[in-house]
Symmetry: C2
Subunit: 400 residues, 2 copies
């Protein structure tokens, strides 16, 4: 929802879906930059704005867009009606600025849909049980869309983004990257948590919980040239040879810390990571080697922006407390991951990954695996090379 | 509510009232320019924006300000809570963009006030009985303030404007103009309708209907240098010698049209003015002279912006239909009025006014009177002179 022109485009697209006989609920976000503008204005008045009042304020961003889209639709002869979160109503808990949806009343929307009216709903917002305005936090509009689709038992929830689907990897790094026709829900969850920016992980989790069929589409495509995006399904496609790996994800925003010579005794992980978690620092990978001589080395990764603060905490507070020998840190690392439900039934994915990286002389610093992904930490300078060679090694540049 | 700085100023002022032990409900308008920005954005998407959706959109202007003011108050340690029109709730009819208030639920506000919380309410807006957002039209924030004061039976409704009160006339024209300590409600109504821009006439009417004591104050005064503004009362002050005239109002935005040689028969006024009213042109003064020879001359004034359109209607449509002889028009006129409840008990105000103008060689083109005002139409070039000499003639430059 970038501009009046974009809004008119969206209206025309909605009109075409409507003409095909669909009942439509359209969930919109604020115009780009609007939420940040409002937050800056709030900070200008109060350095630490009150959460309740911040939500009253930033919820206006979506309120403006629902009205604009409804106007644009009526202008081209399509009956439409806008709803704020409170008007729907989308009931949330009272956790301002990051509320969770508790219940959605579908009666108003259903009445309009039955009359053939297109329903436009403000994403990102709701009301608590006392009628206070709440917002859902970053990515909240996607979450609203999925939650409404679940409440209305929609056929499909289409999420329009600035890319036309989920790719085998970032096409800016590997030009041969291909758009996936479909990806399983589990894979999408891993891809989202591993750095793919297509969908907010929270909305994917929500879709998983309520079994909502998601489709990622581009809002930027020209009229008549739209593609079908990527469908996120709950079942692996039985009719098709499932590729072993669906995509290569990566995350540059990482830093690694190692605590050396930690006494190898129970509770040591908690003693190290507890104070860090209390300071709201997210820890990603955690690795503890088998100890020897009664001590062990303990490594973990954090967001790069938290590196300095975490290192200071370790040096001044945690290491003296646990009696560690020394600290190593590196904020020039990255994480590269191979994701695919196919690896469940195909052994040897890990060894192929390690061999491929070894052949290029890329040293693996940390390894972490789950049932459908393998992540490695490597020096940041190898990021593009690692992604490229893995993409090729797993045949992702070839149509399946 | 011009800027973050202005909002912090308002917060400090509210805090001082609160510290004096008052219970406060603060009704705010949008930040300056915001409503116009939103309307322009709507027009950019749809040339004739749908009324319901326009209200959804422009009501966000006040929603932003209530949040900012509540934040600013909390920031200086004053408990405050914002309310949109719907949250109050301010129930209106469903006439989008110019709704009328039907009822105000005071229970939420009362609960907060009893707890010592300052209540901040978005002016200009409400909801209809189906929960659709409505707005009250131009000047709606003043009307909201008066309506809330009436519902809560407030001691006083203070309206903060960009002037520090009601003056005997515009100080830009007569530097000796004095601020009135008090003015009666009837006089204020006349002054508002005669061109004084201090208050919207609708909010004054509302205050009259519900007997709300109004005070006009400046929002621009420096801290510690605030004045007490002008009180608008319902009773003439019995303890004080009531001045005969309270103020000289004027309106430059006028044009005059005369239809000459109209047949002097019943229904002629309707035949002339009916089609004009149907085209939403406001007619102000209307004068019909005593006829002779079976014909009469019929004059009226309109807003200057409607002059060309009205003249065309008269020439092409109305005059041929009624058989008028000719049309005269003048869009370089102005209206100057003397207003005062004192003229009820003091005869001779009109003759003093006419004599004063005659002594300066100012020709009076039209005259219209009511119980508490006398208006004359004169050539626009005499406006400043007429206002100045009348202001002096009625002793308005002297403290009472």
């Amino acid at each position: 929802m970038g501009s009046p022109e974009r809004i008119r485009n969206v209206a025309r697209r909605v009109a075409r879906w409507k003409a095909q006989g669909h009942q439509l609920v359209v969930v919109v976000s604020a115009m780009s930059g609007e939420t940040n503008r409002l937050i800056a204005l709030a900070r200008d008045v109060s350095p630490q704005p009150d959460g309740r009042e911040l939500d009253v304020m930033i919820s206006t961003g979506e309120q403006v867009t629902i009205a604009l889209l409804a106007m644009a639709l009526k202008d081209i002869g399509v009956e439409a009606r806008s709803y704020t979160g409170g008007q729907v109503k989308v009931l949330t808990d009272a956790t301002y600025t990051k509320a969770r949806i508790l219940h959605i009343d579908e009666s108003n929307m259903r009445r309009d849909l039955d009359k053939g009216t297109v329903v436009i709903v403000a994403g990102f917002q709701g009301v608590d049980e006392d009628g206070n305005i709440t917002t859902l936090g970053r990515g909240g509009s996607d979450t609203s869309g999925v939650a409404l689709a679940a409440a209305l038992k929609a056929e499909e929830c289409q999420i329009y983004t600035d890319v036309d689907g989920v790719y085998t990897t970032d096409p800016r790094i590997v030009p041969e990257a291909r758009k996936l026709e479909r990806v399983t829900f589990e894979e999408m969850l891993e891809l989202a948590s591993l750095g793919s920016k297509v969908l907010q992980i929270r909305s994917v989790e929500f879709a998983g919980k309520y079994k909502v069929k998601l489709r990622v589409l581009s809002s930027l495509e020209e009229e008549g040239k739209e593609t079908s995006g990527t469908l996120i399904t709950f079942e692996e496609d039985k009719n098709m040879e499932q590729p072993i790996i669906s995509g290569i994800a990566f995350n540059r925003d990482e830093a690694k810390l190692t605590v050396l010579g930690v006494p190898d005794r129970p509770g040591i992980a908690y003693q190290i990571l507890g104070p860090i978690a209390e300071n709201n620092i997210d820890v990603d990978m955690i690795i503890q080697n088998v100890g020897h001589d009664g001590t062990t080395d303990f490594s973990f990764t954090v967001n790069r922006g938290d590196y300095a603060r975490t290192r200071t905490m370790l040096e001044e507070q945690i290491c003296p407390a646990v009696g560690a020998r020394a600290i190593n840190g590196d904020n020039k690392i990255c994480k590269v991951s191979a994701v695919g439900v196919g690896m469940r039934s195909h052994p040897g994915v890990a060894s192929k990954m390690f061999r491929t990286l070894a052949e290029e002389g890329i040293n693996i610093q940390m390894i972490s695996t789950s049932e459908i992904k393998i992540s490695v930490v490597v020096d940041e300078k190898y990021l593009e090379l690692a992604v490229r060679v893995l993409h090729r090694a797993f045949g992702l540049d070839q149509a399946p």
